[in-house]
């Protein structure tokens, strides 16, 4: 196996996701799913693996929705996918049914109907048809599509798309989707809420976060990549373990490091791996684009006061917390105090911590303490901020 940072992976080359995928299939028996994860953690590869190696009885349909710009385009896509899945016989049957039921005279021009009707008709067709396999839509880059729809059709339409999908899920209890995207869906919902269009269109979804690989899976991936790229190592197992631990089990960065080693043409040692990763973290050209974790703050937290407070919280966590020794709310109130005192401060801090958790900056352990979610990002943050 060759190092392939960013490319499409053969499903057999997607390591350490079997348990997660099994959970997803189990969950799909009862409800739809919202996958939440940091960019480049491998969401798309999980969806592709589900598509290519489905659970018996399921027919997954993987679509990347970032090319969709309007609600109508989206409805057309769903309609076409459903019709293709059902095949011509069922389509004809549905056609007659519709003509009879709706007194529809021009079914050929069905697509010219409103997007909502089209979407509803497509899902209704799907649910009515007898199926050997259950269709599940694996929709990637949903937030990007919603942002496009908001731009082209307005925020209310974007909200309507989400609400319509929710009502279809409630109306048809066998209708299943897996939604995911590079940017958190909560940001789109936040924008809708800020525009006075509050929606709870995702609260029926089972939310799941994609974690980095476990140490053993990350090590296995690194070992196989080192072997595939014929990287000379003084001790391959030790080198693989170093790579896995230094990049927190992020498969993308494991591929990156091994690809970099291949280009360097040197003998890999744990020390050279540490140097290589350190050089990536301090490189002014920022090859891993980690600066985004800082520069996106004003976008994610549009209130300048919030962005400033989040920076202070991250500074405090970067220097004072580890996963083993997290910081409590009280400690954070002391180390990164918001403006005012009292109960208001605590509520404000809790609000921001919730958002930071959703944005993958931090994690909370069982005792309620907070720490950086990824030590790699913590390390970078300290270097970047000179802490």
């Amino acid at each position: 196996m060759k190092a392939n940072p960013g490319g499409n992976l053969d499903p057999d080359c997607v390591y350490g996701r079997e348990n997660l995928i099994n959970i997803l299939w189990e969950r799909l028996e009862s409800q739809s799913i919202l996958i939440n994860a940091e960019r480049r953690i491998g969401k798309t590869q999980i969806l592709r693996k589900m598509q290519i190696q489905p659970q018996p009885g399921w027919k997954p349909l993987f679509k990347v929705l970032e090319r969709i710009h309007s609600a109508h385009e989206f409805a057309e896509l769903v309609y076409d996918d459903v019709q293709q899945f059902l095949g011509s016989t069922t389509r004809a049957k549905n056609f007659i049914q519709k003509v009879l039921e709706d007194n529809e005279t021009d079914y050929i021009n069905l697509k010219s109907r409103s997007w909502k009707q089209l979407l509803s008709a497509a899902i209704a067709d799907l649910m009515k048809a007898p199926q050997k396999e259950k269709l599940v839509f694996l929709w990637d880059e949903v937030p990007w599509m919603l942002e496009s729809i908001a731009r082209n059709n307005g925020l209310p339409t974007a909200a309507e798309v989400l609400d319509t999908l929710r009502s279809l899920r409630i109306e048809h209890n066998r209708f299943r989707v897996v939604l995911t995207g590079s940017i958190g869906l909560h940001h789109v919902l936040g924008k809708l809420s800020a525009a006075g269009i509050p929606t709870s269109a995702t609260n029926d979804l089972y939310a799941i976060t994609v974690p980095p690989l476990s140490p053993s899976d990350a090590c296995r991936l690194a070992t196989d990549l080192l072997h595939g790229e014929n990287i000379l190592c003084d001790d391959r197992q030790q080198v693989a373990e170093t790579i896995a631990s230094q990049v927190d089990g992020f498969p993308y960065y494991i591929h990156h490091v091994v690809a970099g080693l291949r280009l360097e043409q040197t003998i890999a040692t744990p020390a050279s791996i540490r140097r290589h990763i350190e050089s990536q973290l301090v490189n002014a050209a920022d090859p891993w684009q980690l600066t985004h974790y800082r520069t996106r703050l004003p976008t994610y937290y549009p209130n300048p006061d919030d962005a400033r407070k989040v920076t202070a919280i991250l500074d405090a966590l970067a220097t004072n917390s580890t996963p083993e020794n997290p910081l409590s709310i009280n400690q954070l109130l002391q180390l990164a105090p918001p403006h005012t005192n009292g109960q208001h401060d605590r509520e404000d801090l809790l609000r921001l911590l919730r958002l930071m958790d959703a944005d993958h900056y931090i994690s909370r352990n069982a005792s309620g303490g907070f720490h950086f979610r990824f030590p790699l990002i913590q390390r970078w943050w300290k270097l970047e901020r000179g802490l």
Binding site: G7, R67, D140, E141, W144, Y252, Q265, V282, A284, A285
Partner: protein, 624 residues
Amino acid sequence: MNNPDTPFIRRFLTHHTPPEVLDFLFTGRHQLLHNILEKIAESAAGGSTHHVLLHGPAGIGKSHFTALLHHRLITDTSFSQTLHVACIHSSQTITSFPGFLTHIYRSLCHAYPHDYSTEWLNDLLDQPPTEITKILTQRLIARFNSRKLVILAENLQRLFDGIGKDGQHQLRALLQEHPFACLITTSPTLFSAVTDRREACFGFFQQIPLHPLTPAQTHELLTKIATLNHQTDLLQFLNTPDARDRITAIHDLTCGNHRTTVMLSRFLTPRSLDHLVNPFLQLADDLTPCRQKQLNSLSPLQQQIIELLCRHHCTINPTEIARQLLVDRGSIGKQVRLLEDAGLLTSMQHGRETWYDLADPTMRLGGEDPQSSQHIMLVDFLRTWHAGSGQHRSQPSCLPAASNSNSNTGPQPYTPDSYRDALACVAETSNTDTTRPPTTPRTHRAESLFIQQRWDEGFNLIRDTLTHSQPNILSRLPALLSMIFRFSDEPADLQARIQNLVNICQQAAHQLKRGNSPDPAAPLHSLGTALLRSLPDLAAVRFAPARLESYPPAVAHSATGIAELAIPLRLFHAGIRWLSTGSDSAFIRLIHPERQILRQALDITETPAKPASRQPVSRRLPKL
């Protein structure tokens, strides 16, 4: 060259060069080519697909690489059943996603006429663009069900600008949903569409930088070109140590750029390579139409910025650019960033200031008055700087303190033999018996006299040696200068001794000129290089900053107005500033080849102020 039997090496549109010529000239990237071929082989064989972006400035050899890769892919029989190759060259303009798909299909029609129908494509063009996208997408997905498509696309930045953000989303979505194609692309720079996490194609490509040629690779490439052109006399010269020194100078001036090296090769003969300045003037002349065209494609303000940098032999910050061009500071920031994105400028950050330089230093050779250009003087200086570097390294200094230096360019550690020589020199110069003829070399005796602070006798010996046409004493100038710097405690003494040495070198230069020597400025050039070669020794003795800072004014007092010493004086000044402060600000105003020289002089492996490192300079330096 003009021989009809020699193949024509294209400097632009490289893909039109015969593949066997490209293969022969291919230098320093065989491992990378092998690596990319392995990635494509894996893509062809299984379910993974690789997307690669090779990036490097114009002329770095991107087109050469992709043309050769294309040739390997279509001639390797192991690939014939498993993949097809489509090419998008940098000369093709694409302005939409459907346009991108039609270009790919047209390329396939051209390469595989039995498999892809041009007529079908022509008929399709009657459809609206959205239908074309839909039909072509379906067609390509169907066609590449059992084999892979390799898309070789030059200048991805231009392609992405053309297809826009929407097209980028469509492309990514298509290749994520249907991974039937590998994108092997090139770009002169990294750009936001692939580096910004908010963009669709962030992290989509494995980004591989194409590095400039090393001096050894520049030598290899020039040797290959000379072989191809049957230039036997040049080939013979290229095998000499002198030629290797000249090529190191060429490398510093061309920044290891493949195209500039290939273009320069047209003007190389044993004689022109030896003198070096003329080939660069010819190169500048040859490049003028191309540069003019490039300038004309820029906005008037951008043209002014480039012209300003060509006129100035230093880096400039936006505030100074705005002041010089009489425009608002705010309007400059965006323009310089655009020029940097276009690969025409490079930048260095120092504190909160950004300093800009021309990405291609040879652009400065195209000025209105090249003969008087500082850059021509730089070419000349580089010739001397690298001349006899091997010989220089082989001669140990007489200075014991120099054993602290690790420099490759400065004095070398003392050996038992050189101690014996030094002791013999000191004994001989201390001997008052003038009837016995000296047995030790004059060069060593001069140093010995300086050690004993018998300055007048030392200077007389140097003058006498040069008058007797024994120029090998010039190679001792770094050691002699070091002793002047070390043993002159009073500023007036220092100034007088430097003045003495400068006068001796000037007189020697006049004498050579009168004798019609081919290189009359050699003594002054040697003095210039000696100034820089004395820096490691000054670093080793760890003088206080105040004392170090007194040296440049003392040298300037004697050297100002001597054209041959202008560049070394400037670099000596910067080197002393760096030694005394440890601040990378010493480097910030220097242009790239000058930074290279100073880096070599100070034996620094990494240039301070290089954007790739944030480690404070002081941590990398020995304490002074």
